[in-house]
Symmetry: C3
Subunit: 139 residues, 3 copies
Amino acid sequence: MRQIHHQISVSTSGRGMREITQEIRQWVRSSGIRSGMLTVFMRHTSASLLIQENADPTVQADLERFFARLVPDGDPIFHHRQEGADDMAAHARTALTQIHLAIPVADGVPALGTWQGVFVYEHRYESQQRHVMLHLIGE
Amino acid sequence: MRQIHHQISVSTSGRGMREITQEIRQWVRSSGIRSGMLTVFMRHTSASLLIQENADPTVQADLERFFARLVPDGDPIFHHRQEGADDMAAHARTALTQIHLAIPVADGVPALGTWQGVFVYEHRYESQQRHVMLHLIGE
Amino acid sequence: MRQIHHQISVSTSGRGMREITQEIRQWVRSSGIRSGMLTVFMRHTSASLLIQENADPTVQADLERFFARLVPDGDPIFHHRQEGADDMAAHARTALTQIHLAIPVADGVPALGTWQGVFVYEHRYESQQRHVMLHLIGE
């Protein structure tokens, strides 16, 4: 049994979802670990992670419309607004989604279902560099 | 230290929660691993996982009413509707709940609190076969 | 490779967030494991876990206002109300946030980002003793 850590840097182009399934799959393959548990961890408080449908891009647009309505930017109940109308909304969206994912690895690949992709979900308006940690334990 | 993977197939009877605590507990017992970390992973994008109160079934009905109001089926903001009014609502409900659970195992059992049960939460109207991966690492 | 379990008891002072980053950091340090994966698991159904901004306390107050509006206490759709208006609301808030966190450990510390803190989120009105399990695997 052994483990590996790795950090990837993901450039986002402002609010929205960016798929990272391929980067993750490649890193798992290069690790040489064929069977184990992969953890993906977002080191930020205004971007998050999601596993979602990756076949129809409409799903991403629909999800974004849904979260934009659920967590209104610049909501008057939000007092934390130093960095703008998207500041506190980004923290609330992060609370409702995921900071970490745990995905079993079997036969050398993350055991995602047919329609599952791994996404970084950027909640700020502007482009950011997001640091995502990967950890794989197995054999 | 060793690890085991296992996949279970859960038949759902349409929208709602189905408890799988017993299946999980039995599999952990049969693994022979007495201490470690259990991961439960849903391989779908329109069903999810929850750890919830399992003593009073009213909790499940209340949760379902809550999510039905929070994520309206056939919402006009949803354009992804090939498979019906529950299609995109199912993806949004999945984004708000869990795709994976991590539960410590101690003394040969998942260390759930007294009132905690593990549930598959089906978000589609029709019955489905859902594939859930279990991974246990420990000794 | 080795693993350790530990249970901490967290006193909450009624509804709201209580940071436990320092307790966790100290326990990781004392474990002697320098590199690995930490899991934090809440053994209750009416309190949850969050990783959030810990620099500006306004974030915690804003999040609480957000969840109080999203999940109204004593909502007429909630029939499970034996323990009061906060009973079922607490379960719904728990479903929307986290029961467990997985945080990579590197160089002897949880690899949290600069602004990330670990919080117990109490959803009941009254003070409670909450049992949180920690599990660390690594070397």
